[in-house]
């Protein structure tokens, strides 16, 4: 029977090697990083705006103006909250807890849906429209396009930062980005029936969350070749 090997001392040359590698790869201090992060997020939203305008100018398409205004006003705080919960790391470098991330990914589309119900009930004429499968699919694609800017920005902010549950962080980031897509979509989509809203507006939130979860391992996980 053999005895376990002893623990070697930390070699001195390793310290010099690592400090040299650090010097060879300068990283800006936090203040500059914060400015860069704000710029990245701003660019993400600029991209969303550009995509929105490229697809169509904002148009009521027969809906009451107040309906659109209230919907955007109600959903914007939800998107902000989802971004804070899903993209922010709280006070830990390890980010939010897995429970928190799961709650963000699951509850955001649910809250969006639940907050839409009283709005549409207040304007019952919006419960009926002539949307077809093509319109549902188009809104799914448009939501994906509108969420692309925030998604890229958020994942850039969190790139290589999660060593524990990157798939959950990716899902939460996807949800937050999709929430912004959902906020902007009513500006150009004239269909408001429950079927269309479920398939064209809420389903893509789940899809983007799933996409974020699937890409989390590559986008936000700590990896040997992350940088």
């Amino acid at each position: 029977m053999k005895a376990p090997d002893s623990l070697p001392e930390l070699p001195a040359h390793l310290r010099a090697r690592i400090l040299e590698a650090v010097r060879a790869e300068p990283v800006a201090p936090r203040a500059e990083g914060a400015r860069r992060g704000a710029l990245i997020v701003a660019l993400g939203f600029v991209a969303t705006t550009a995509i929105l305008l490229a697809i169509s100018m904002p148009n009521l398409r027969g809906r009451p103006l107040a309906y659109v205004e209230v919907l955007v006003l109600v959903w914007t705080p939800i998107a902000i909250l989802a971004t804070w919960a899903g993209v922010g790391r709280g006070r830990s470098m390890l980010g939010r807890s897995p429970r928190w991330l799961v709650a963000t990914a699951v509850l955001t589309p649910v809250v969006l849906l639940l907050s839409w119900i009283p709005v549409t009930m207040y304007w019952p004429e919006t419960l009926v429209d002539e949307s077809e499968t093509f319109h549902h699919v188009r809104c799914v694609v448009v939501t994906l396009a509108l969420a692309l800017g925030p998604f890229v920005a958020f994942t850039r902010l969190r790139r290589g930062s999660d060593p524990v549950t990157p798939w959950l962080t990716g899902a939460a980031i996807g949800t937050a980005a999709a929430a912004w897509g959902a906020v902007t979509l009513p500006l150009i989509c004239g269909f408001t029936s429950p079927r269309h809203m479920l398939l064209g507006h809420f389903l893509p939130v789940l899809l983007i969350a799933a996409l974020g979860g699937a890409l989390g391992q590559w986008l936000v996980a700590v990896r040997a070749n992350t940088e």
Partner: protein
């Protein structure tokens, strides 16, 4: 000392007693031994009393048993030192990274070497871990704890490295011969080192989740809350995993006649001593 009578173990030179309320005492031992044996007893939940010739053996055993010999308990000052150094580094003091390294590297290297059993690989993973910490300079959160974050990075890089199939780590229970068994007191040392090898084998045979939880808490000196952060789970789950590992360790040592009777009436007491969140 405990009021319970000493129980003879399979080792002719060893006497096993239950710890008294988590306080481990050592009879007839030197000060150095007093420092070393409690570490062994904390791991196996027993107090080992030996005759004077066995004391030297214990010291040698401790020298070849990393998880026993190396004091990985970390003071609040050391933890705070890493946090403060990283804070200064993120704020713009480039020279502070050397202090971040000094505060973290020994513990991370010990952890990585225990997992890989390969010096060059542990060094490589340590370098990658420190570079990840360095790259997060521009997004370091003020007041964030550095230690659990650093261990989580190291663990992730280690797991990725394992997945890439570079080398099988642990699992097969193989341990490295350091040549200690060929010393002049080889017979006695072999007898004493049965405990050490048994610990190795039991830990190697545990599910990875239990082994990792146990190692992070008992070997690396992380609190339960920090280990929970590193593993991405709850404090309760980490306590349960570590407890199961602890029970398996006790059962494994019981098979060779060490510690099987120790403290059986209060299995939580030893655990509680080392599992404070």
């Amino acid at each position: 000392m405990s009021g319970q009578p000493p129980q003879r173990s399979a080792c002719s030179q060893c006497t096993v007693q239950s710890p008294d309320d988590g306080i481990v005492s050592w009879l007839g031992a030197s000060g150095v031994t007093t420092m070393l044996l409690p570490k062994l007893s904390r791991h196996v939940g027993v107090v080992v009393l030996m005759d004077p010739p066995a004391l030297d053996l214990a010291l040698e055993l401790a020298a070849v048993l990393p998880r026993v010999a190396r004091d990985t308990s970390v003071s609040v000052e050391q933890r705070g030192g890493a946090d403060l150094a990283m804070e200064r580094y993120a704020a713009g003091d480039s020279a502070a990274f050397a202090q971040v390294y000094d505060a973290l590297a020994p513990r991370l290297f010990a952890y990585l070497f225990r997992q890989t059993r390969e010096r060059s690989r542990a060094e490589d993973l340590l370098q990658q871990t420190m570079l990840h910490i360095h790259r997060a300079r521009d997004r370091f959160i003020p007041g964030a704890q550095v230690t659990p974050w650093a261990f989580a990075i190291a663990r992730r890089l280690l797991v990725d490295s394992m997945r890439r199939g570079r080398r099988e780590i642990l699992g097969d229970g193989t341990v490295v011969d350091t040549g200690v068994a060929s010393s002049p007191r080889a017979d006695d040392l072999v007898q004493a080192s049965q405990v050490a090898v048994r610990i190795e084998l039991v830990l190697a045979g545990l599910p990875a989740s239990q082994r990792t939880a146990f190692q992070l808490i008992k070997q690396e000196g992380l609190t339960v809350a920090e280990a929970a952060q590193v593993l991405g789970t709850t404090v309760a789950a980490v306590k349960l995993r570590a407890h199961r590992a602890y029970e398996a360790l006790r059962a494994g040592l019981g098979e060779i006649g060490v510690g099987s009777e120790a403290n059986d009436d209060d299995p939580e007491s030893n655990l509680a001593a080392g599992l404070k969140p």
